[in-house]
């Protein structure tokens, strides 16, 4: 079966940010350059559709969703905090991210694809149930997990997050949910301050494996092999959603972890092994962070190549 790539270039480029902001449109250009290589010709490509607002409410309070929609500016930028801002194009970009992640779920459940990479911006895993932060508005990975349960009747879903920042939003959303396991490797201390190993959720379905600044691929692999993969295998997910951030790359300016692109290929294959055992191979991977354009480019090459079975 194939790997599906879901993107929406125009809307991803139209989410404007302030001068010098790291979460910038060039990230999408770097991704598209990476995926234009001949290696990726077998990818099935489609547009990320607009998301259904009702699915956003599976993870975010209705009042918060309406508040974000109402804040969408006609011109200029509206700041939600020092990091997070909306331009006139932001709403569509965010909703294409939600729609893309949900369409990815539809594709793997229907058998149209074995796995999916959703390459949109902005990222989502910092968005809490009723709070935008850290460049994020709605948590598309979390929404896709709940959408898979509600629309397709999938029981256990795992959200695995290797972005260098802890996904406080995903943890917040799934804290008391025994049907979704949230696993994360991330740097500590660093934004947003959450993600200690003792944060385990109400049902032991939150699995945090924090890394120290300066840690490299050896420590990253130890965190997965020693902590996350055993928990994941025990949980036996029927679908895996990846919050695929590539800012643990050594080149990245927003963190101090020393992974190289091969580490992202390695972890992708490990997650595919888990998915093969309990989820019929079904993986939907959603782009999160990654702020060095070369590091992002090289990491996406390795990640998507792995998804394609290379």
């Amino acid at each position: 079966m194939s790997t599906l790539l879901l993107t929406h270039t125009a809307s991803s480029l139209n989410h404007k940010v302030s001068e010098g902001h790291p979460e910038r449109p060039d990230r999408i250009r770097a991704m598209e350059k990476a995926l234009s290589q001949d290696t990726f010709k077998p990818l099935v490509r489609d547009e990320a559709p607009m998301g259904d607002l009702e699915t956003v409410k599976l993870c975010h309070d209705e009042s918060y969703v309406e508040e974000i929609r109402a804040m969408s500016p006609k011109q200029g930028l509206v700041y939600l905090d020092g990091d997070t801002m909306m331009s006139p194009g932001t709403w569509e970009a965010v909703m294409r991210g939600v729609g893309g992640a949900n369409a990815g779920v539809d594709a793997v459940v229907s058998g149209k694809a074995q796995n999916v990479f959703v390459g949109t911006r902005p990222c989502g895993h910092h968005a809490e149930r009723n709070r935008a932060m850290g460049f994020c508005f709605f948590d598309q990975a979390a929404i896709a997990a709940r959408y898979a349960q509600k629309k397709h009747g999938i029981g256990r879903v795992a959200v695995v997050d290797f972005d260098v920042h802890h996904g406080n939003g995903s943890q917040d959303i799934f804290w008391a949910d025994p049907t979704v396991m949230y696993c994360s490797t991330h740097q500590m201390p660093l934004f947003p301050g959450t993600g200690a190993a003792q944060e385990r959720g109400e049902h032991d379905t939150i699995v945090n494996a924090p890394m120290r600044p300066g840690d490299d691929g050896v420590k990253f692999r130890e965190a997965f092999e020693g902590v996350i993969l055993p928990q994941l295998q025990k949980f036996s997910p029927e679908l895996i959603i990846i919050s695929a951030g590539f800012d643990a790359h050594w080149r990245d300016p927003l963190a101090n972890i020393q992974l190289d692109e091969k580490d992202f290929g390695w972890v992708t294959r490990k997650l595919m092994d888990v998915a093969d055992k309990s989820a019929g191979g079904r993986i939907v991977s959603v782009l999160e962070g990654g702020y060095d354009l070369q590091g992002l480019h090289d990491s996406i090459v390795e990640h998507v190549s792995a998804l394609m079975g290379h």
Binding site: H126, N168, P189, L190, F191, G193, P253
Partner: protein, 83 residues
């Protein structure tokens, strides 16, 4: 960043460095640091930590000289150059 963040760490007293370091740790733990500044603030914290460690090493070196020199007899207050 706060105005004291630009102060030269190499000339800071131990008390001032540890005070700022504690403030940085608290901000990081509370999640009150913007994502974009998070690394810069962490790295400032690392510099402050190194300054505190350096000052502690200097203090230990002075104590060592007093306690180990002169066949067990106090040497007085002569400082040790540990650069």
């Amino acid at each position: 960043m706060a105005s004291n963040a630009s102060a030269d760490v190499t000339t800071m007293t131990f008390e001032r460095a540890i005070e700022e370091l504690e403030s940085i740790v608290k901000r990081l733990e509370d999640g009150k640091v913007p994502l974009e500044e998070s690394v810069a603030i962490y790295e400032r914290g690392e510099t402050l930590k190194r300054r505190c460690e350096e000052l502690l090493r200097q203090a230990e070196a002075r104590v060592d000289k007093i306690t180990t020199d002169a066949n067990g007899a106090p040497v007085g207050t002569e400082s040790l150059d540990v650069r």
